[in-house]
């Protein structure tokens, strides 16, 4: 308890620390925003809540780490992870998701939970339970007499996330497929009537989401670390982000992703790293409780 109060007073005494945490939070939040965008996409278009989202991220991370061990610079892992995860996403869509898409929501939730367990344990068997991190050998910059440190990897991670996000958003806005996806999200039946192959749209959306997660995972491996069972934490984080913003609200999702990053940096600093997971879950409960109070006022059935 004393330590927590001490940490808070330290933040008050040295405002420059706040700035450092804020910058770190925003840089990391960009990765959350990216993966949350993918989750919101699948949620909005297919009405499937993908609990394996965090585990897709971990696969991407492990790919990058493995490439790094083979002597390939981890930043090349970003496109590789995107492509490989695209393939994995397509396979999972064909075998599992396409079977549960028309069923009730708990079914898809449970099915993706099963997929998540398979991925976690598969990674555990393949790479062991140790925490790994890809070494990028990039410099660290210091500002304000070492009070603020910005590592190049985080900055590059941010840039990659931003580029990927812009590409995906432009794609959704302008391309034929992007329009089809948005049409399906609005009304799948009407889209089918107008000649859109919704089955193709679904498989494309899910694969795209997996690819985005793969790229995000590559960045996670460079910026942070990967471990087989960390995936669940990411899934919960992303769920918090999307639930806070509402899945139809894409700018909101991205903003909430940044908010999540900042929240975690400050929370980790104040309470200590061992409470990190507990903090995220408690935040989830708070967000759900607040949402519930809002619904109570509107009093309507929510799917």
């Amino acid at each position: 308890m004393n330590q927590i109060i001490g940490n808070i007073s330290l933040l008050g005494a040295a405002p420059i620390f706040n700035l450092g945490l804020l910058i770190d939070g925003l840089l990391i939040g960009s990765i959350f925003a990216l993966a949350a965008y993918g989750l919101a996409l699948v949620w909005g278009v297919m009405n499937v809540k993908n609990l394996a989202q965090g585990d897709f991220i971990m696969i991407g991370g492990y790919l990058t780490w493995y490439l790094g061990r083979l002597g390939i610079h981890p930043l090349f892992g970003v496109p590789v992870a995107f492509v490989v995860l695209w393939g994995i996403g397509w396979v999972i869509y064909r075998t599992v998701i396409s079977k549960v898409i028309a069923r009730d929501l708990f079914t898809s939730l449970l099915a993706t939970f099963g997929v998540a367990i398979v991925i976690q344990q598969g990674l555990n068997i393949a790479f062991g339970p140790d925490t790994q991190s890809a070494q990028a050998d990039l410099p660290t910059w210091e500002f304000a007499d070492g009070m603020i440190t910005v590592t190049a990897t985080r900055l590059i991670g941010f840039a990659f996330a931003a580029i990927l996000a812009v590409v995906v958003i432009l794609f959704m806005k302008n391309s034929r497929m992007g329009q089809a996806i948005r049409a399906t999200a609005q009304d799948a039946r009407a889209a089918r009537v107008l000649g859109i192959d919704t089955e193709k749209v679904y498989s494309f959306t899910f694969s795209l989401n997996a690819g985005i997660c793969g790229a995000a995972g590559a960045l996670v491996a460079v910026v942070w670390n990967v471990q087989p069972f960390l995936g669940t934490t990411y899934s919960i984080r992303l769920f918090v982000v999307v639930t806070t913003a509402g899945f139809g609200n894409m700018p909101g999702v991205i903003a909430a992703g940044f908010g999540m990053g900042v929240f975690e940096q400050f929370g980790g600093f104040i309470f200590g790293a061992q409470f990190q997971q507990a903090l995220i879950v408690v935040l989830l409960l708070i967000v759900l409780a607040v949402r519930q109070l809002q619904q109570l006022r509107v009093r309507q059935a929510v799917q």
């Binding site: 809540k49 599992v96 079977k99 549960v100 069923r103 009730d104 929501l105 708990f106 079914t107 939730l109 449970l110 099915a111 939970f113 099963g114 997929v115 998540a116 367990i117 398979v118 991925i119 976690q120 344990q121 598969g122 068997i125 669940t232 919960i236 769920f239 639930t243 061992q274 409470f275 997971q277 507990a278 879950v281 408690v282 989830l284 409960l285 759900l288 409780a289 949402r291 519930q292 109070l293 619904q295 109570l296 059935a301 929510v302 799917q303």
Partner: protein
């Protein structure tokens, strides 16, 4: 064979099996005790998930809560809990016979009651959530509890607590906890059979079928939902306290709040057996547990991959469950039981299968 004759017969058979099993297979009495625990899991999950249609992923919370509450009471009656947990790593602390049994009795009773009280609080938080939000919210409660206890030094944090050791031979210890778990499971089954035949059973089925409509018809849905959760929590908390004493050592992530094992098993067993039926969870639990115990040893290291695949397969391809499938296949067999005020077991979601003649 109609329901009036088949039901008491099945209960009698189950009672005989329960008494005979540890005598016939004394080496396996622990595994069979865990089987009864699995049946408790499946039945309590089915109250909320099957009969009431609220698919929870966090029922394990009450199990772990009961376990910890009982442990704190058993130790706290005679020692300081904080000192006990820090000292237990180095020294062995002895409880007398009398201390052990008073502690156990009070601990188990308090675990059930306190879990039920926690259910009131949790119910207020989660029951406004619908569908997948409810599932995620309850999962969040369980994970949060595990994480918070794992960082709480007073109750031993992540390294757990060693409970008082049973005074007596290992054989009598096994038998003692077997009897407790079997008694709990059997009384739960009898209780649910009665419960589902009352208006309460009809009310929670109505909530499952259409909550808005049930409310419009004048049901106090909130009250029913909370009561159902309290019943589930009461039994889960008691089971947790007993199981904690049976293993003798409790720890937050893998024993008290195992979100990826027991917690998922309960959902799977119910789906496998057929949700929304009285016997489905029992059938599912038995089959699941036997398959698990037999194959676990062959899949060593891969068992959780197998578990994940099993989840996907059951959920994707076989969702109505064994009893549900039987009901669809032989509706007239079960049609008899759907007659009003007869048997509760067929009041499940296969209501379509009512045979008009049989229902009379």
């Amino acid at each position: 064979m109609n329901s009036t004759s088949v039901q008491p017969f099945t209960f009698l058979l189950l009672l005989l099996v329960g008494i005979a099993a540890p005598l016939l297979f004394p080496d396996y009495s622990n595994q069979i005790a865990v089987l009864w625990l699995m049946i408790i899991f499946a039945l309590t999950w089915d109250i909320i998930g099957g009969q009431m249609g609220y698919n929870s992923l966090g029922n394990i919370f009450f199990f772990g809560a009961g376990m910890y509450i009982s442990a704190i009471i058993q130790i706290g009656l005679f020692y300081d809990v904080g000192m006990y947990t820090s000292a237990a790593r180095t020294t062995h602390i002895v409880f007398t016979n009398e201390q052990y049994f008073t502690g156990l009795l009070l601990g188990v009773a308090a675990a059930g009651v306190a879990s039920a009280m926690l259910a009131v609080v949790i119910g207020l938080i989660v029951f406004g959530l619908r569908g997948p939000y409810f599932a995620i919210g309850t999962l969040g409660v369980a994970v949060a509890a595990a994480e918070l206890i794992a960082s709480w030094e007073w109750v031993g944090a992540a390294s757990g607590i060693s409970l008082p050791v049973f005074p007596g031979q290992p054989q009598s210890q096994k038998l003692f906890f077997y009897v407790l778990l079997f008694g709990l499971a059997f009384s739960l089954l009898l209780f649910l059979r009665w419960l589902y035949s009352t208006n309460f059973g009809l009310a929670i089925n109505a909530i499952r079928d259409d909550e808005e409509k049930a409310e419009a018809m004048g049901l106090h849905t909130g009250r029913y939902k909370r009561s159902a959760l309290i019943i589930a929590a009461l039994f889960l908390g008691t089971a947790g306290a007993i199981f904690g004493n049976m293993t003798g050592f409790i720890e937050p992530r893998d024993i008290a709040f195992p979100t990826t094992t027991f917690n998922i098993f309960m959902v799977l067993m119910v789906l496998l057996g057929g949700k929304g039926t009285l016997w489905g969870p029992v059938v599912g639990a038995v089959i699941f547990h036997v398959i698990k115990e037999v194959t676990w040893t062959y899949f060593l290291g891969w068992q959780f991959v197998a578990l994940g695949l099993l989840i996907v397969i059951i959920v994707v391809y076989f969702q109505q469950g064994i009893v549900g499938w039987l009901m669809e296949k032989y509706p007239e067999r079960f049609g008899v039981q759907i007659a009003p005020k007869q048997g509760p077991s067929a009041s499940g979601n296969i209501g379509l299968a009512v045979h008009p003649k049989a229902a009379e």
